[in-house]
């Protein structure tokens, strides 16, 4: 972990999609060792929140302050569809300067898939591959967008264990998921609680 004391702070955050205000006055503060579960129905703004926290989009109002490098796992893996999985992962290992990628590949059971082109992988297999790339980055802040969707029961267990391990090691995890998660000490909030009241919808 690069940053000695990672933190992720949202202050008075508001985000829109198109003309619609999805949530506003959203504030939280996560320090090293904290996990946070964001719940909400489809379209409530979980992905929008995560992309704003990652700094990929500019929030409509409010600010995001983060200390420490950040890793994002969403439905878009960033892995080249035409390359065999091993080579697609190797690109990111090289960019991230990861010298021992085999651990993550073994834990996530990707060994037998390394020769298979990424486009032939199932949704769950792609998700496992993206997780391996995230693990190999060794970053303190994890933003996970629906990390459990498309995974079988056994892999769900592994992913939750990995989140526990990450948080236990002083990392931060913010998980947007509509599935239940069991991580000790995890806080949670529903994004609908920050949805604007109907009369202030076009504020």
């Amino acid at each position: 972990m690069q940053a000695a004391n990672p933190s992720l702070i949202a202050e008075n955050l508001a985000c829109r999609r198109g003309e619609r205000l999805l949530f506003r006055r959203l504030s939280f503060r996560l320090e090293g060792g904290a996990a946070c579960h964001v719940t909400g129905a489809n379209g409530a703004g979980k992905t929008t929140l995560i992309r704003a926290l990652a700094g990929l989009t500019t929030p409509y109002a409010g600010s995001v302050v983060r200390e420490g490098a950040l890793g994002l796992l969403d439905e878009r893996t960033g892995l080249d569809p035409d390359l065999p999985l091993g080579r697609a992962l190797a690109f990111w290992e090289h960019v991230d300067g990861c010298t021992s990628p085999d651990g993550a590949i073994t834990i996530l059971g990707l060994g037998p898939l390394l020769e298979v082109p990424v486009r032939f992988l199932s949704t769950g297999q792609k998700k496992r591959a993206a997780l391996a790339a995230l693990l190999n980055r060794a970053v303190p802040i994890w933003l996970l967008d629906e990390p459990l969707s498309g995974l079988d029961t056994e892999t769900i267990g592994k992913v939750i264990a990995l989140i526990r391990l990450h948080v236990g090691g002083g990392g931060i995890a913010l998980i947007a998921s509509h599935q239940p998660l069991d991580v000790p000490g995890m806080t949670s909030f529903a994004i609908e609680d920050f949805a604007p009241a109907p009369e202030e919808d076009h504020a």
Binding site: G18, T57, L72, T77, D80, D82
Partner: protein, 216 residues
Amino acid sequence: MIAALLRRDLAQFFPFTGSGAALPVVFFVAVAMLFPFAVGPDANVLAKTGGGVVWIAALLAAILPLEKLVARDIALGFFDQLRLRGMAEEAMMAVRLLAHWLSFGPPLLLATFPAAALLKIEGESFQILLLGLLAGTPGLAAIGLMIAALTASLRAGAALSGLLLIPLALPILIFGAGALARQDQVSLGFVGAISLGLVALAPFAAGAAIRAAREN
């Protein structure tokens, strides 16, 4: 990180290694082969009009892999992942511009030899054509990249790219193909200057475009 990205981009675009990326050059030669059949084998007519056809073919070859240039990697989340690792969009686009040019520019210059033979372009005309393409292809690559990035997130992107192409490509064609018509090497300097201007502008325009594409 830059070197790794350049290697990856080249592997994506390069003929024979990438997936069907030899298409622009095949297209270029095909146009040169078909043109004499369309206008007849009169060597004078061919030599007079052939240069312009080569330029148009080069321009279209530069924008052929349009969808692959930017839109695919946006959908893949590839640029997002690079951004999270601290790379600026401008740097990603500068690398992509270089990879795009390397993948079609030099092969196209080589293909100009058979194309010129088919179109009866010889002697000084051939020299001007080759030098013009050498100076002009980086600019054509920049045009392709800018259009690809600007239209990547639009549903009617393909229709718009045709409209965008015309004003961007005009100056380079006027001086590039015009140099041939006038047998005048001085125009080639203008081609080079326009080309350099486009190359300098493209990473910024394309970088801003892919940032804007995230917002919707």
